[in-house]
């Protein structure tokens, strides 16, 4: 394996987050931190039924109620089928949603909206809205959705898709993909062992500190301004324009500081209705979901049931993989196709195999709606693959580390899956050009004490047992041939630069790492790069923060623009110095001559270019698209303690060894990894949606929906494996934000197996479930 070592001055350094001080001193402004004169407050009426028709809706009293300025129902809004998924155009999700509709399809679906002078007044008005529902048969079990006599959730004539995704709403089928590479039957024939099991992934909420929140108003020229907590400002502009029949140019979307997204804000969810209220009243309107509303009405991780069958030779070679998956997309098909595709495309290429079948169906139910959630289908897929790999290794009597080392994809290799499986169309073939997975496995194993503990914890006595387990992972970096990011850079007379990017910092630190890349290219300190991001009037386009794309994709746009600026600076300097460009170079905010030893400082160049001679603006705008989605790799190791008397699982140690190409800012990359791991541990052991028989979520709050907190943190070590520079990445970088949420469920499940011999395949691994599995094992 080639390893590269390049000395950088700003890249690879733990530069302080450029918005860190403002955020920690409360100066930085989130969406909700402004109050506009004459602002109204919006509240939404949510459906109490899982599936019902609105027979009559009477808002007379609500409209007359004190302080109320507008009440909207489906009768007041254009009926335009759309998807709430904030994806590129055309979206690969079915168009099956209306701003408001006369049918409600899950408990938490929107029924009406009120804007009033205060929240209390708006809430009072909600209580005065009289709705008569005709309750319909409902589907609460995805396995029932495809049955012959099942209720039809999307019987409206407008429901359709733009891309061919086998959309059959009459059968509750929101999307289907089926791909085959090689010869599956032959593959299974060649197998010495065939391993087969069923796995599931459950609902989960994103639990961002900041809920969905938006403020809309009309500016002095009557244009609609949307200030919103979003991951996708440019998609918000396009999609809201479509839904409200406005011109895109009539809308400006501004993204202030964001309190977390994790995918939930890749959803155009609250902007449309708030904008409609502003259009109706002419007044600024604020809409902010409460925590309960976040739980019942926003988006979730798509639950899946996966049947996985693998064939393997006695030497550990995989001969066939057959993955069959049923996904519950809930009442609407947001990301129904693409999350399902990702379950295959981010999981199946990791282990080499020629003969693969992947069949995925997403079905509608009258339950909460799935959406983008960190990991995006890969998290679900690794539950199956990560546990099954452990089962295979056990069957072969092979150490799991050797199994992975034998089978994982390497530099220079490809997988038929890359080409076969795209998003609503064929994928893009690619060769792996950087892979440090072996080093991740070795370093992780050493850190956790793998070989000693695998021996030591065998055949332990007493009710407290320990075990270690591991899993290997990959993800991607952006969506090839689809995603685009652009950057605009200009020079000021003091030698500072404005960097305007469409890229969307959600608290992730992308503003900082993009500044680091500009600094590196321009040989100037990070504090000379003034970053402004995500304002559709001011910054160039970017698809937004999703698909682990910002560093890899938008980073390249920043480097391209910086290089162009560098050329312009050199040209101006050569004019000023009377020397040829090829004799000049950049160093420390100056241009120097190799010949004369003379130098001009950036501030002299800036001043010269704007005021002295041949005046012009040194500036550049560049875009970047990618033809690849190079995967980062990781090996995760969990050490658990299982109390076989109470069923409680404690994660004692967790090692995440990650290879993400060059870590542009190692501290931030570590932060992403730690966050993802804790997020994943919480998902593995604790978080779950509990519904009653009518499809009502019983634990729609933080006291009953348990999320792990700081005291629950295990000893957590992140190892960033460095030196594997990705040739297509900015300064060799790949993505790091999503990959690590995929590890905890399989790593912990495998560790539990090692500790006490039970195969847990249906998370969350609650004490109840552990106890009943232990009982089953005894009998």
């Amino acid at each position: 394996m080639k390893k590269h070592k390049t000395a950088y001055k700003y890249v690879g350094k733990n530069i302080q987050k450029i918005d860190g001080l403002g955020l920690s001193t409360g100066k930085a402004q989130f969406t909700d931190d402004i109050d506009l004169p004459h602002m109204l407050y919006a509240k939404i009426l949510f459906s109490p039924h899982a599936h019902a028709l609105i027979q009559k809706i009477d808002v007379t009293l609500a409209r007359k109620s004190k302080g109320v300025h507008a009440v909207l129902t489906y009768q007041d809004l254009p009926r335009i089928a759309h998807t709430t998924a904030g994806q590129g155009y055309p979206e690969p999700s079915p168009y099956d949603t209306f701003i408001l509709d006369k049918k409600v399809r899950f408990v938490g679906d929107r029924v009406a909206a009120v804007a009033a002078e205060s929240e209390v007044m708006a809430e009072k008005a909600l209580k005065l809205i009289k709705v008569r529902y005709k309750v319909l048969d409902k589907i609460l079990d995805p396995a029932q959705a495809l049955k012959k006599n099942a209720a039809i959730i999307h019987d409206e004539k407008e429901a359709r898709t733009v891309l061919p995704i086998n959309y059959q709403p009459k059968k509750n089928l929101a999307s289907e993909v089926k791909i085959i590479t090689g010869d599956l039957e032959k593959g299974f024939k060649e197998a010495r062992h065939i391993i087969e099991a069923e796995y599931s992934a459950h609902y989960a909420a994103h639990c961002c500190n900041e809920p969905h929140v938006v403020i809309t108003f009309l500016d002095s020229s009557g244009r609609l301004v949307i200030r919103t907590s979003t991951q996708v400002p440019f998609h918000v502009r396009r999609i809201v324009a479509e839904r409200l029949k406005l011109d895109t140019g009539q809308i400006r979307v501004v993204k202030p500081r964001i309190g977390g997204g994790f995918g939930s804000k890749q959803e155009v969810l609250v902007e449309d209705i708030c904008a409609a209220l502003t259009m109706k009243t002419g007044r600024p309107v604020k809409l902010e979901y409460t925590r309960k509303e976040e739980f019942i009405s926003s988006r979730t991780r798509h639950p899946q049931k996966i049947k996985l069958r693998t064939g393997v030779r006695s030497d550990g070679t995989l001969t066939a993989i057959d993955m069959n998956m049923l996904m519950n997309t809930g009442a609407y098909g947001s990301h129904a196709l693409t999350v399902a595709c990702n379950t295959g495309s981010k999981v199946l290429p990791l282990l080499k195999c020629d003969n693969i079948r992947f069949h995925a169906r997403s079905v509608y139910t009258n339950l909460p709606v799935g959406g983008a959630y960190r990991g995006y289908g890969a998290t679900q897929g690794y539950i199956a693959m990560g546990i099954q790999a452990d089962m295979i290794a056990e069957k072969l009597g092979m150490d799991i580390l050797d199994f992975y080392k034998k089978n994982h994809i390497r530099e220079g290799e490809t997988s038929p899956i890359f080409k076969a499986l795209g998003e609503g169309r064929e994928g893009v073939p690619q060769n792996i050009e950087s892979c440090g997975l072996d080093e991740c496995i070795d370093k992780g194993a050493r850190a956790i004490g793998w070989y000693q503990k695998r021996e030591k914890y065998k055949n332990r006595k007493g009710h407290i047992r320990r075990g270690v387990g591991m899993v290997c992972l990959m993800q991607g970096s952006s969506i090839p041939d689809i995603d685009m990011g652009a950057a605009f850079l200009k020079m000021n007379e003091d030698g500072s630069f404005n960097l305007l990017v469409g890229a969307t910092d959600l608290g992730t630190g992308s503003d900082t790492i993009l500044a680091q890349m500009a600094s590196e290219t321009l040989h100037v300190d990070v504090n000379k790069i003034i970053v402004y991001s995500s304002d559709t009037d001011m910054t160039p386009f970017d698809v937004g923060a999703y698909a682990s794309s910002t560093t890899y994709l938008s980073g390249q746009a920043v480097i391209k623009a910086s290089q162009e600026i560098k050329d312009q600076i050199l040209k101006t300097a050569s004019e000023m110095m009377g020397e040829t460009i090829s004799d000049l170079y950049l160093e420390n905010s100056s241009v120097k001559s190799r010949i004369s030893g003379k130098k001009v400082r950036f501030k002299d160049i800036g001043l010269y270019s704007l005021y002295e001679k041949n005046q012009h603006q040194i500036a550049s705008i560049r875009s970047h698209i990618t033809h690849k989605s190079p995967p980062p790799f990781a090996a995760h190791f969990a050490e658990v303690e299982v109390d076989t008397a109470t069923g409680k699982v404690n994660v004692v140690n967790y090692i995440a060894a990650v290879e993400c190409g060059t870590a542009i800012n190692p501290k931030l990359a570590e932060g992403q990894t730690e966050g993802a791991v804790l997020n994943g541990i919480s998902y593995a052991l604790c978080e779950e949606f509990i519904f009653d028989k009518d499809g009502r979520l019983l634990n729609a709050d933080f006291s009953n929906y348990k999320v792990y907190m700081t005291p629950d943190l295990p000893g957590l070590t992140t190892i960033l494996v460095q030196g594997y520079s990705e040739p297509t990445g900015p300064y060799g970088a790949k993505s790091v934000s999503e990959i690590s949420i995929n590890g905890p469920v399989p790593a912990i499940s495998n560790a539990i197996y090692h500790a006490c011999g039970i195969r847990m395949t249906h998370p969350p691994f609650t004490p109840q479930k552990i106890l009943s599995s232990l009982k089953e094992k005894l009998f």
């Binding site: 069923g647 409680k648 604790c686 019983l698 634990n699 009953n704 348990k706 907190m709 004490p767 109840q768």
Partner: protein
């Protein structure tokens, strides 16, 4: 909702009898504010803020008793030397409540008056035969709770203090609580066991279980069975079965009834095995 702030007991005595509305005391507010937010407090209720009523915030000691002011927050109880000496179970229980923030606000009186079967201080109070003192009467903790969230307190009757009789014998105490995460989690089940030992002989044992019935349950039959027998594996197995017949857990979003039984059995076994 009306609001009144009172800072002395004399004011309580003079003002409260005049109030006809349903009265809610605001002590730490950690239960009350949740209820207000849920909308389960009547429109015409009277909220009386007693959080600055200093007279009810002390821990005192007499030769025979410990007297804990109703407004003493859990963080103070958790770190009280006196309580730890005479009723270590209560310290342990106090330490397990909520999080540091909740322990700084939440009071013992509030925990009792709120009457949740999962109230963490209650099993400890049961095994110590605590006495709850209001302005007009003394009530044994065993007579105090009627049902889940229901007590014998009349409207406006305020808890002044909680008395824990001292036990002048060698004690062994065990408190177990099952919760889904380290902090801020209600008990799925809890068990307090207090054993009195004299010359290495078990003189008395008191057992109370939380979150496995509408109120905390003192399991007298189990206690008597244990006292009548020499502890061995067989007796432990039988004791567990008797214990199960004395509790009546339900299935709710915190846990299944079956899991609650399993966990209580395990806790009892743990305690009994560690007794000698």
């Amino acid at each position: 909702m009306e609001f009144l702030k009172i800072t002395t007991l004399t004011q309580i005595i003079s003002e409260v009898p005049k109030i006809k509305n349903r009265i809610y005391y605001l002590a730490g507010g950690t239960d009350l504010f949740v209820k207000i937010k849920e909308g389960s407090i009547q429109e015409n209720a009277m909220i009386i803020d007693i959080s600055d009523l200093k007279e009810l915030k002390s821990i005192k000691e007499t030769p025979a008793e410990i007297i804990i002011g109703a407004l003493t927050p859990f963080s103070q109880i958790a770190h009280s030397f006196v309580i730890n000496f005479h009723a270590p179970l209560l310290c342990q229980a106090a330490k397990s409540v909520g999080s540091l923030q909740i322990r700084n606000r939440g009071t013992l009186g509030g925990n009792i008056a709120n009457a949740s079967p999962a109230g963490d201080s209650l099993p400890a109070l049961f095994v110590h035969d605590a006495i709850i003192v209001t302005l007009k009467r003394r009530i044994s903790v065993h007579d105090f709770f009627i049902n889940a969230k229901k007590t014998v307190l009349e409207n406006g009757e305020i808890i002044k203090e909680i008395i824990i009789p001292k036990i002048n014998m060698k004690k062994k105490a065990f408190f177990y609580k099952s919760a889904p995460r380290e902090a801020l989690a209600l008990s799925k089940a809890s068990l307090a066991v207090l054993a009195m030992v004299k010359n290495k002989k078990l003189e008395d044992i008191k057992i109370a279980a939380g979150a496995v019935g509408p109120t905390v349950i003192r399991t007298l039959r189990t206690e008597q069975f244990i006292l009548r027998n020499q502890i061995n594996s067989d007796v432990i197995a039988k004791a567990k079965n008797i214990m199960i017949s004395e509790i009546c857990p339900i299935t709710d979003i915190c846990s299944t009834d079956q899991y609650r039984r399993e966990i209580i059995k395990f806790y009892l076994e743990e305690a009994l095995r560690n007794l000698p």
